[in-house]
Symmetry: C2
Subunit: 453 residues, 2 copies
């Protein structure tokens, strides 16, 4: 029986596994985390609106009815295309007949990995919880601080990157301060928090219609967010964030809590393939999702550079990954049945970004909506997507509760240190990231221990 | 207006603050954590049955309607009884007119602090999440492990301490393996997990009726737990746990995931007072809850050694702390009104311990119950206690859901490292714990910065 190895249990990888439930194949799904994450709501964990368990489900639980899947918690650190083997960090080598790479993307600091110390990215639950901790600790430190200047600096927050994640973070951060925390403190007024959203390009939400970009900026400003476009980040350090404005003048936002939402790049596993990548480290794949010259290896989701009907690469969105996963599963089945493969056709369902509670922008086809209506659309779509998630009811309950009471049940600070600002926990690069940086071929990384020979 | 400083936002401290809501006093509540914890359910977080946010509520949220309280996130590192000042680690000194010490207890390794590296205690959310991570990672590692001997060692769990916490942990660990995880793995049978509960004394649940102790042991054995009484732990290290049995012969439980529930001792803050303590580091207080010679300083909850009607010190239970909190608040009010203080009278509501789902033991007055009936009693009491918690519905929903489906929505592994067994994160002693170990008087710990002068 063919052995299909899937690397990554996100939207794409999980879709492939589920679609092959009745196929005559043996599947091994490898992920370095034990849970599938509903990433579109990750910013709500960072902003203390939802708890980690509301938006994550163990991969084993998601697949436990499917008997042809084996799940392994491990990290894929390299692929040997010639031998058809994936190198796992702990369990050694894994032979495949078909390989699906769906390991997603990490944060891209554009050549400044040292900034990650101050500016946390938002790609997994650990990072979301770390952001939540830093934001809540900043308010706590401000409450303790007698010096008004220092207090002001503690209440200064900078979100870098004006894409959907940055817009969602800035909007919900402003709301957290203005509504959820406003009654909790005696010395400070949390609503005095300064939230700045920095974007390098000329407008927010670049892939959206310019009218919606303008609407998003207006809606953010209604919430008190300072939106600055055309701004380049020059430096991030203990002082704060040094920014060059559109006219080139530099200013420093001092003592800020900084969140990085400026860019992603494919996981460094892609670099171990030795095939053509785009600038974001994504693997360039053909219309059937496979690597040119390697029809047995598919790449999907945020790791893949696949061209859409408009000739441009498809965006890094959950619907793209899910649809690609379906296409790859279909092609694996067609291979078994001896039928020719079918090319991927992306059905664009549109895009949306939420801006706090009751504000959003959305576009689909020729439709452009913003404000409350867009927000309702956003809720309906996200609840629909959560179908299959056991957490649907919990998320709904939490949302409804938050909406009515402005309380945040998820406002916990975990971790032992009490000071914000000073970086407490540097997010270490994983071993595969280090190895990829050092450009070691995967074979040299460790002696192979055979598994699944 | 009198300034009442409360150290600790647990059951006792929160009770004092709430009871003084309408009193003509200014209150400052200091806690090193931002949340009040429903500690009786903490073991369920460690065993992946509930999420941290289900059993914790931010102290600010719990008190935000009360205008005479200021909440400070900081750690009390010393008390200067002569100057009536509390030393805070970050914010400096805080003057009080009345002081209520309610900082609780930490884990007691009985002279072996180095064991904490392997045997995590269960006193806060960080420790509960760390236990959950180690337990779930052990099953994941067993699934990857080809060697049957190593696999067996990975599935060996040891709970040290046969009090209510140890009994609850061992029971729910056995159930996690037998029911919740049983369908999730392909290579291993999680129900083959070996759970051993070690107790130094002659029986489990020493404070309970001997019949209930025997019943608890029987109920645990029905779940597959090996109960060993009269066993002393000699050593814990990378090898495992070395145990001396009742006859003195030593055996080693190899490669185990170890949880420490063997004892508590009062937070080391008590040692900075320079007053009489008992062997557990608890402050010996009079019948009004105050320190002899210092009627302005009260100690309650797990930090206090107060004698009950039977002449024995009161146990470290939530009802004791809550009732003591009420008594102290009443006495603070009576001082203001110029009335004599009232002594504390403990109303014993009984004790209970749950053993997984549908098993428990309970005693109150002359009533002794065990099994399903005791379990129902346990649920009713805990839901009743959760009144006032915003999480009541969530907890109930989660319980009901777990009961019906055996799924565990909280089965997340967070943190970046993938291997169990080898200690990953040594829980660092806090600064106050270090200072107290070195027996520095609090004045020498740091230069004072005046706050609230």
């Amino acid at each position: 029986m063919e052995h299909v190895v899937i690397v990554g249990g996100g939207f794409g990888g999980l879709q492939v596994a589920k679609r092959l439930a009745k196929a005559p194949v043996r599947i091994t799904l490898v992920d370095r985390l034990n849970h599938h994450l509903f990433q579109p709501l990750l910013y709500q964990v960072a902003m203390a609106g939802l708890s980690p368990s509301d938006i994550a489900v163990p991969i084993r639980a998601a697949l436990h009815r499917q008997r042809n899947v084996r799940v392994i918690l491990d990290e894929a650190v390299g692929v040997d295309l010639a031998r058809r083997e994936v190198e796992l960090r702990i369990a050694g080598r894994l032979r495949y007949d078909k390989l699906v790479l769906a390991a997603g993307a990490g944060t891209n600091y554009f050549g400044h990995p040292e900034w990650s110390k101050w500016a946390v990215g938002l790609k997994d639950l650990d990072e979301a919880v770390e952001i939540r901790r830093r934001v809540l600790l900043a308010f706590e430190a401000a409450e303790r601080e007698p010096d008004p200047e220092k207090r002001k600096a503690l209440l200064r927050f900078v979100v870098i990157g004006g894409g959907p994640t940055g817009v969602e973070l800035a909007g919900s951060l402003a709301e957290l301060a203005r509504f959820a925390l406003s009654r909790d403190f005696q010395t400070i007024h949390p609503e005095d928090a300064e939230v700045t959203l920095l974007e390098a390009g000329p407008r927010l939400l670049a892939p959206f219609d310019p009218k919606l970009s303008a609407s998003a900026a207006r809606q953010l400003e209604e919430l008190g967010v300072t939106v600055r476009t055309g701004c380049l980040v020059r430096q991030i350090d203990d002082e704060g964030v040094r920014v060059a404005g559109p006219d080139g003048t530099e200013t420093t936002l001092r003592g800020s809590t900084v969140i990085w939402a400026a860019g992603v790049r494919a996981r460094p596993l892609s670099r171990t393939l030795g095939v053509e990548l785009d600038r974001g480290g994504r693997v360039i794949v053909g219309s059937d999702g496979s690597i040119p010259g390697h029809p047995e290896v598919f790449v999907i989701g945020d790791m893949a550079h696949q061209v859409g009907p408009d000739g441009k690469p498809l965006p890094g969105l959950a619907p793209v990954a899910i649809q690609q996963g379906r296409n790859v599963a279909a092609n694996i089945l067609r291979d078994i049945e001896g039928k020719p493969r079918v090319p991927f056709r992306y059905v664009d369902k549109g895009m949306m970004a939420t801006i706090g509670r009751s504000r959003a922008v959305a576009q689909t086809g020729r439709l452009r909506i913003s404000g409350l209506l867009a927000w309702f659309a956003w809720i309906v779509v996200h609840l629909w997507f959560l179908v299959g998630f056991r957490n649907r009811l919990l998320v709904f309950y939490n949302w409804a509760y938050n909406y009515l009471t402005y309380k945040r049940g998820a406002r916990l600070i975990t971790g032992r240190r009490l000071e914000p600002g000073v970086p407490r926990q540097v997010v270490e690069p994983s071993e595969v990231e280090r190895a990829a940086r050092e450009r070691l071929p995967p074979q040299q990384q460790r002696a192979p221990d055979p598994v699944h020979a």
